[in-house]
């Protein structure tokens, strides 16, 4: 870790977000220079029999939701892969698949192997704080021939952020397959939303603590362009969940692709579109 434990303890509670952001931005630059990657994602529901209509601009097709059975999941994966025209297909939360394995009385690896055999390339997310056995589950993903699109956190009290990030870094030391970590919580409470200071602190601390995961990711659709753009200046280097639907009824400049590029450039960085495999498009 690039800062000492004592420094980390003081940075974790600092209100000087500019100082914290500077340290995190420096680390980000050492690793990625001015490159900021983003991926355009098309979400399709897990529970549906309708063949999906997929936007050709998508760099990742993501199956979202909780399948009721393994058979349902496998058949949906096959259907989506058939429609994906070669675009990488990701799907499901690893925590939900752990639960599915329990319900099906099957090993997690069997579930993962069957999904892989049906054409799934990536597990869409592994919510670290929801996994029963994070190390084992992530290793099983790897052994089954799948990749993990991102490690996430479902919920996060800011007081526990550093401890959780340290646990994430420890997991990565063991498994070494996590390509991207999204440190902001997926579950948002509209009555008491996280604050801007809180989000900035979490992103910056994640860059400092989880320094063995290449990308610190921020979710464009969940957190919105404004916070996502600020996050890029305090340690994040990858933007997830940009809409793949690029029709722009109010003019070209407002299409998602233009908007994400404009925001990255305005943050002083160079936008690079990638696909779900983390390959430039």
């Amino acid at each position: 870790m690039p800062v000492s434990e004592a420094e980390l303890a003081s940075l974790a509670s600092t209100r000087d977000i500019i100082h914290l952001g500077l340290i995190a931005d420096d680390l980000r630059r050492q690793r990625h220079g001015l490159r900021t990657t983003f991926v355009r994602v098309a979400d399709v529901p897990a529970v549906s029999v309708e063949p999906p209509v997929l936007p050709p601009a998508a760099g990742e097709i993501r199956i979202c939701g909780v399948p009721a059975t393994l058979a349902q999941a496998v058949s949906r994966v096959a259907q989506v892969v058939a429609a994906a025209a070669g675009a990488p297909v990701s799907g499901f939360s690893l925590a939900d698949l752990e639960a599915l394995a329990g319900a099906e009385r099957a090993p997690l690896r069997t579930i993962l192997e069957e999904l892989h055999a049906a054409g799934l390339e990536l597990i869409a997310e592994a919510p670290f704080d929801r996994l029963q056995d994070a190390r084992r589950a992530v290793e099983e993903v790897n052994i089954a021939g799948l990749a993990l699109a991102r490690l996430t956190l479902q919920q996060l009290e800011s007081t526990f952020a550093v401890a959780l990030y340290q646990a994430v870094a420890a997991l990565q030391r063991d498994v070494a397959v996590v390509r991207a970590f999204a440190p902001l919580p997926r579950l948002l409470n509209p009555a008491v939303p996280t604050t801007g200071y809180d989000d900035v602190r979490r992103v910056a601390l994640a860059r400092l603590v989880v320094d063995n995961v290449p990308s610190i990711q921020v979710d464009w659709s969940r957190y919105g362009p404004k916070l996502a753009q600020v996050a890029l200046t305090v340690g994040a280097d990858d933007v997830d969940a940009v809409s793949a639907i690029d029709d722009a009824p109010e003019g070209r400049r407002r299409a998602p692709l233009e908007e994400i590029r404009r925001n990255i450039v305005a943050a002083g960085q160079s936008p690079i579109e990638r696909d779900g495999r983390f390959e430039p498009r």
Binding site: I17, I18, G196, Y197, K226, L227, V230, E258, R262
Partner: protein
């Protein structure tokens, strides 16, 4: 001069010129700008207090002849969606504002040719008669100019009459960018040239009123023009010292004739910090959470802002253009305190009124701002018949043709 030299000059309390300001805005790293602005904020407000006001942003009419190309709020004369609020509706809004601890209306509206100066005078008098200590922060410079043209009376006389009727202070709206090339491009040169806008403020300050100053950026202006705007405000403030605060907000493009895209959050923080550095004679800078959202609104406190603006209860103009953020008093205070500051209520003069109201008594939570008209439909209150209309449609409506 290099960025470092300019930064040193700012850090030492020196005043920068337009060229230096432009160099900082264009080239200084965002954290450098933030640091410089934050140090100025801390010097001016050493107690770590961040203020806010409880008031209500009421738009008395959406009928407007100015037709600015960046505006999604106005309706043309005769439009079925045009409205004028009745006095009783405005009283009801004041009652609701007082109920949550507010003491002021920010009252602005379109340039409606069918509302004569007497309507405003009667409204202000009626408000003051019913609510003697309630404040009217009302009529931005272009509205005053509109009334001056309508009555063919000089600005000073119009302002004097409005003050006599109860006007307490003037909001800084309608400034957009105080450069006439930009104003022509935005179709707002006609409503007020740069010099006319500044002149209304000069008159107001000389008449003893305090006013705010604003900037709507992110349309067609260049970086130079953004800086020129700030320089003009700084020059008038040197002359009159009448501005209480500066508020910058980004152009909101939805449903406007101009369309285009909104400036980004980082641009907002850079613009705010640059303004804090340039406007060395302004006491306060507001965060525009209404256009930036609560998160970037809060981050503004690290980039030079010392005020979280208004718990505005109601908002119509930027909402019409696509921004629909809401923060009630509890949320504003939570954000101020989370950033490490002390939250205090203030009035329009930035005098501290006290601690958050919700800590004293129960205030209903507010998860969305109200609008002037929840149904959105047009209307013309009965009492308007007492006032002469200018437009054909207005005359017909009031049966004055």
């Amino acid at each position: 001069m290099t960025i470092d030299r300019i930064a040193d000059k700012v850090a030492a309390g020196g005043r920068i010129d337009a060229g230096e300001a432009l160099a900082l805005y264009r080239c200084a790293p965002t954290p450098t700008l933030g640091r410089l602005a934050d140090a100025i904020r801390a010097r001016r407000h050493p107690g770590g207090i961040v203020t806010y006001i409880i008031d209500r942003n009421v738009n008395y009419t959406n009928v407007c002849v100015a037709k600015c190309s960046f505006c999604a709020f106005y309706r043309p004369v005769g439009s079925a969606e045009g409205y004028v609020l009745g006095f009783d509706e405005i009283f009801r809004k004041i009652d609701e504002t007082i109920a949550v601890g507010g003491g002021q209306l920010l009252l602005q509206g379109g340039h409606n040719p069918d509302l004569p100066l007497e309507w405003y005078e009667d409204l202000f008098r009626a408000v003051k008669a019913r609510y003697p200590s309630f404040r009217l922060h009302a009529l931005s410079p272009p509205e005053v100019i509109h009334l001056s043209r309508l009555t063919q009376k000089p600005i000073g006389e119009v302002l004097d009459r409005l003050i006599a009727a109860g006007l307490d202070s003037v909001p800084g709206g309608g400034a957009e960018i105080l450069v006439d090339r930009v104003r022509r491009a935005l179709h707002c040169y006609g409503k007020a040239t740069s010099a006319e806008w500044l002149d209304v403020m000069r008159h107001a300050h000389r008449a003893g009123l305090r006013t705010t100053a604003t900037m709507m950026y992110g349309t067609v202006e260049t970086g130079e023009e953004r800086i020129e705007h700030l320089m003009r405000l700084r020059a008038l403030q040197d002359e009159t010292a009448g501005f209480t605060a500066f508020i910058a907000w980004s152009y909101q493009p939805e449903h406007t004739e101009l369309a285009g895209s909104e400036a980004t959050a980082v641009d907002y923080l850079r613009t705010l910090a640059t303004a804090r550095i340039v406007l060395d004679n302004f006491e306060s800078l507001q965060a525009s959470w209404v256009t930036q959202g609560g998160k970037v609104g809060q981050l503004s406190l690290g980039y030079g802002a010392n005020d979280m603006g208004s718990v505005m209860l109601e908002e119509n103009v930027v909402r019409a253009a696509g921004a629909a953020y809401c923060m009630d008093e509890m949320e504003i205070v939570r954000n101020i305190e989370d950033a490490g500051f002390i939250a205090k209520r203030r009035n329009m003069h930035y005098e501290i009124l006290g601690d958050p109201i919700f800590r004293d008594r129960e205030i209903p939570r507010m998860l969305a701002l109200s609008t002037s008209r929840t149904g959105g439909g047009g209307s013309s209150p009965e009492e308007l018949r007492m006032y002469s209309a200018r437009s054909l449609a207005g005359k017909r409506d009031r049966r004055q043709d």
